[in-house]
Amino acid sequence: MSTESVPTPTGVAEDVQQKPRMAVSALVTNLREYGLVLALIAIMLFFQYTTSGTLFKPVNLSNLVQQNSFIIVMALGMLLVIVSGHIDLSVGSVAGFIGALAAMMMVIWPLGIFSNPLVVSIVCLIIGGLIGAAQGYWIAYHRIPSFIVTLAGMLIFRGLCQALLGGGSSVGPLPPGFKALSSGFIPELIGTWTLVPPTVNAAGKTIFGSGLSLQMTTVIIGIICVLASAFFGIRSRRTRERHGYEAEPFSLFLIKTVIMSALVLFLVYQFATYRGLPVVLVVMGLLIGLFVFVTKRMTIGRRIYAMGGNAKAAQLSGIKTERLTLLVFVNMGVLSALGGLIIAARLGQAVPAAGLGSELDVIAAVFIGGASAMGGVGQVVGAVVGGFIMGVMNNGMSIMGVNVDYQQVVKGLVLLGAVIFDVYNKNKA
């Protein structure tokens, strides 16, 4: 109300006054920002307890990642779609269609050398992009609501998926090289380090708890990631301070870094005791990193947020909103295609129902992650954490033996609760 009537303190007085308040307010804003991560950790601990420790077992962690990666990959695209003020209901169907197409190309059609998994994957990603462009064209240049265009797309591509597979049948098995995308692990280059040599008991079985060895490639990658993030964190603090701006309080930075590092190292350790990092986790990790960079640091990311916040103002600031919208949907198409490939690779075959209903999980992940349905608001990390919250709940409840029907009820309640919490928080602020 009275930003104008409050006189601005000037000069040195301002800095001195603000210092003690800075620390507190930084903590408060950060708590809100990290609330979602804390919620994820709480949910994980809850299921760790209720599943008597199954959740964090290395095998289960690998499963969890492999089952949910396609949701998170598509959520990255969906975040941009929702931030730009649109929605895409077709992603599940497009994923199913691309999975079917990939299977046909690799298994049924006589394409010779072109049925190579890598070639097929690249072609499929391009086709995904074209599908996104086709839908985005109507949305961007003819201003047809995205809800309608992608609803049509949802029907069209589910139908095409089923038609391609010849009615209700599934197509497979897919070549092992392709399946590695989902079920493979990164190759061990350095070797394993045996912590506890396996002890064989009288019956010829290994005793539980023994035979602990670490996949060193995984461990090294984990350590590099943690060190790199700490290094860049400190460096960015330094530059801020050199420019005369106050960085967040050092204690907060330290706590954050230590907790995140511990978490990452713990997960890496768990993976290392099993078969190392799943390939799909690496793909996902790289994509997450890329999208964080694009949204936080690149001009195109900034323009998408501006467009979602006020399309007209963005346009009058020289942003080519139509082209940008098209690109957002092309990106979504490519990621839907990648999602479809991941699904097919995990199942080892293409089925007519692949990705059915997953658009809702993807959209839910983005909204749980704090995006606004009005556009202009939302974070990549939020969407990823939202995706993991959905995934951990799926996984945990399955292990607990909760009926599938009630799993949906719980997921629905969590989505509603998360958004209500967000709105409540915003109104209070």
Binding site: S2, E4, S5, N310, A313, A314, G376
Partner: protein
């Protein structure tokens, strides 16, 4: 001596961390027009919200005595029940419903939930006649202009048997003609015994109609003036708490060569293909010159500016644009920005700002390349830029991380200006740069404009406030019905001359 209809005593209202009103007193006489003035954020709207029950009894301290009785309104229904009706600055009409439906919205003549449309229409006709609006009650709100919408709001208030009408800046978006009609209507209501409270920034209007003026500053009543004491100087002094000897900053224009030139510019309406909105306009602006475009609402000034700026308005646009004597292509906004042409919109909330983002991101939006390398934004450089412009344009905010949606109108305008200053344009078109902004902030905006010209830029100012144009420009074009109908040096111009040009132009056009 008239009796007192309303007394607000020692009203204090606190928001978390801010004391919005502190011991405000207001006394309104039956049947008068009482004006309330004050800078943006002074607390006028808050006071009216307390009065109308938007902030319910208990959420503030102090007493409201209305027609001799102490009132404790729990909501807007309670106050309306007693005939207190508030018309907000942002009109609360449903665009896709008809005039009649809007007037009786929530208050329909109905039996058992079934609406009697004939009765509604009949009543509507009577009300429209009273406010002097000649429209079919079935006309959709979206199809009538803002001025007429305002009248519909007033008709709606009348339908509620209003005794005390509160108008929050009713003429802010009205043309001169519509404003006059509205003020006449208030005077007529006065004769019928309806009391009005008028919140306004326009001192000349207050001068014309108000019987008393209460001045509010920083949440406190400064003084109430009677009719004979009302003078612009007195009001301004009280409003800003200091005397503004000069409402316009002094400047010494140093005018150079012609920088920007538009020749034979014609534009057709985007929907009605045969309607020509802009009819062969020629203008030119010189280096360091501030040129004004005067005209009535609907003269086509905004349409002209927006069609120039990246063809953001209209169809079948023809004409030539020259920058430094060379023809340039500004057929898209990004091209226009690249060539050094900037347009600051008249509607900063709709077209100027991303209200859900903070100052920093808004300031750099039109020139992201200026803070990035290889499309990667340098966060610190951006922060430097934002802080720099915050200081230069005197944006009052806790930091550059404050959301622009939470800023007052004047500060929002400074953010929009900063955005375009950072784009470093050679030619700057400012469309109603001081609309809805209080006197203090206006002066600051004028100072920025003067500085831009002093830096050697060409500045075009579109404004409906003639004194403002006379005060800050070097030369004035007069526009009417899509044509330039006059051009004069500001030193030789006057409000009468401008009006004469418009009227003569009207004659020519018909």
């Amino acid at each position: 001596m008239a009796s007192t209809i309303l007394e607000m005593r020692n009203i204090t209202k606190t928001f978390p961390g801010v004391k919005a009103l502190s011991n405000v007193n207001l006394s309104v006489e039956e049947g008068e027009i009482h004006a309330i003035v004050g800078e943006n954020g002074a607390g006028k709207s808050t006071l009216m919200k307390v009065l109308s029950g938007v902030y319910p009894a208990g959420s503030y301290d102090g007493k409201i005595i209305y027609r001799g009785q102490e009132c404790q309104f729990k909501g807007i229904r309670d106050s309306e029940h007693l005939g207190i009706v508030i018309i907000h600055q942002e009109l609360a009409l449903v665009p896709m419903l008809s005039i009649a439906e809007n007037i009786f919205l929530g208050n329909e003549h109905a039996r058992y939930g079934i609406i009697d449309w004939n009765a509604n229409e009949k009543r509507t006709r009577a009300l429209l006649k009273k406010v002097g609006l000649n429209e079919d009650p079935k006309t959709l709100i979206t199809n009538i202009g803002v001025g007429k919408q305002q009248l519909v709001e007033i008709a709606k208030a009348l339908s509620k048997e209003v005794r005390l009408l509160i108008l929050d800046e009713p003429t802010a978006s009205l043309s001169e003609k519509d404003s006059q009609a509205l003020l006449n209507l208030l005077l007529e209501f006065k004769r019928e015994g309806i009391t009005s409270i008028l919140i306004s920034h326009k001192l000349n209007e207050i001068h014309r109609v108000a019987d008393h003026v209460t001045i509010i500053r920083d949440g406190q009543t400064i003084e109430t003036l009677g009719k004979k004491d009302i003078s612009e100087d007195r009001i301004i002094t009280s409003m800003v708490g200091r005397s503004l000897d000069d409402r316009y900053p002094p400047r010494e224009p140093s005018i150079g060569e012609t920088v920007f030139e538009v020749k034979d510019w014609s534009v057709y309406h985007p929907l009605h293909a045969e309607r020509q909105v802009i009819k062969g306009i020629d203008i030119h602006v010189r280096k360091g010159e501030v040129v004004g475009i005067a005209g009535l609402m609907g003269a086509g000034r905004t349409e002209f500016a927006m069609s120039l700026f990246g063809r953001s308005y209209g169809r079948r646009i023809t004409g030539e644009v020259f920058l430094d004597g060379k023809p340039i292509d500004i057929s898209s906004v990004s091209r226009a920005v690249e060539q050094g042409v900037a347009y600051v919109t008249e509607d900063r909330k709709m077209y100027g700002l991303n209200l859900i983002d903070h100052i920093k991101h808004n300031v750099t939006l039109a020139n992201l390349d200026g803070v990035s390398r290889h499309n990667v934004i340098d966060d610190l450089r951006e922060l430097d830029v934002a802080n720099d412009y915050r200081k230069k344009t005197n944006i009052r905010a806790s930091s550059v991380y404050q959301l622009t949606g939470n800023l007052s109108g004047g500060n929002q305008q400074k953010v929009v200006l900063s955005k375009w200053l950072f784009a470093n344009p050679k030619v700057l078109i400012l469309d109603e740069p001081t609309r809805g902004i209080d006197v203090g902030a206006k002066y600051e905006i004028y100072t920025i404009i003067a500085r831009l010209a002093a830096e050697g830029r060409a500045v075009i100012v579109i404004s409906s406030e003639m004194p403002e144009l006379l005060g800050i420009t070097d030369r004035i074009y007069v526009m009417n019905e899509g044509r330039m109908v006059g051009e004069m040096a500001s030193t030789e111009a006057s409000q009468e001359k401008i009006m004469r040009a418009i009227v003569r132009g009207e004659g020519k056009a018909s």
